[in-house]
């Protein structure tokens, strides 16, 4: 009953149970954090706006993104993935979501940032519906924990509009 094998087994089982419990508690403790992030986005310029040969509209823009996501970080946070998406509706599509820019924030020190950039991913419609199109810019963030459950939330900024003519 008290062989080396049994003792090793008992010790291993106990260690794994404690580890699982600690992981679970670390993940649960994230719920006590009530973050208050803020973000602001400006479209500084429409660099160009045209119809591709296959009839899809494409637009290139210069963006100014500033955000303060420091309150998202807890001791169980490995990183925060943040991205800016353009969201709009067209006659054929109930929702179009196109990521324009994204970034990985590795620590709290980097969570308050300001960036001036043109869109990192191409802003292409499935069709040619972008002229004069009203769209939302939404900042999304996904909190990746060191262990446990992942969190996500967003700030929607409505009221942007694309030009009426190609340029």
């Amino acid at each position: 009953m008290h062989s080396v094998g049994y003792r090793a087994n008992a010790l291993l089982t106990f260690a794994v149970t404690i580890l699982a419990l600690m992981c679970g508690m670390a993940s649960l403790s994230d719920n006590f954090n009530s973050p208050s992030p803020s973000a602001h986005v400006q479209v500084l310029n429409i660099n160009w706006f045209q119809k591709q040969p296959n009839a899809n509209d494409e637009v290139s823009m210069t963006l100014n993104i500033s955000a303060d996501l420091q309150s998202l970080f807890t001791w169980n946070t490995k990183q925060v993935f943040v991205f800016l998406a353009a969201e709009y509706e067209t006659p054929k599509h109930s929702l179009n979501q196109i990521s324009l820019w994204d970034g990985i924030i590795p620590s709290k020190e980097h969570a308050k940032f300001w960036i001036h950039t043109s869109n990192k991913y191409r802003f292409i419609d499935q069709g040619s519906n972008l002229r004069g199109k009203e769209y939302n810019l939404t900042i999304h963030w996904h909190v990746m924990p060191k262990t446990g459950k992942m969190f996500a939330d967003k700030i929607v900024m409505p009221g942007f509009r694309l030009p009426e003519e190609y340029r």
Binding site: A85, K92, Q97, Q126, M144
Partner: protein, 180 residues
Amino acid sequence: MGWVADTLHSFNSIQLREVFSQIITLGLVVSSALVTWKGLSCVTGSESPVVVVISGSMEPGFQRGDILFLHMSKDPIRAGDIVVYSLDGKDIPIVHRVIEVHDRKNTEETYILTKGDNNDEDDRVMYNTGQKWLQKHHIIGRAVGFLPYLGWGTIIMSDIPVLKYILIGTLGVIVLTMKD
């Protein structure tokens, strides 16, 4: 050599009743593992509720050897979700993030584009030739949580298949020779 002789002796001395009892124990272990797996499948709605990350394309978020828990809910897939998908004709599931979504109004179809956080390019280069979008049926699940490092055993065993047989063999011998 005394050890081998002892083991052989113990093999010989096993009664028929004990053999059956061992087989039943083994069957219980295997079936409870199966029940857990299938139960998880039912609860999460995903055919493989737990996957091990095998590539570094999502670093530093997910590293090789991390375990991901998947969930397949009715909620529509949205940009930013980390999904696991497998392409037509390929078995290997891929864990990447959705960066573009187009929901069709009349057909309920969804066009999805994915990218690994650590990759420079989106996944169109990895898709089958001529494929520009993923559809809902490619998606196996959505990652909802994860545990670090626990999947390393799986990775080592799939890299060095001999280890798998050694492990199963050893376990088998232990179970068969164990006396309680």
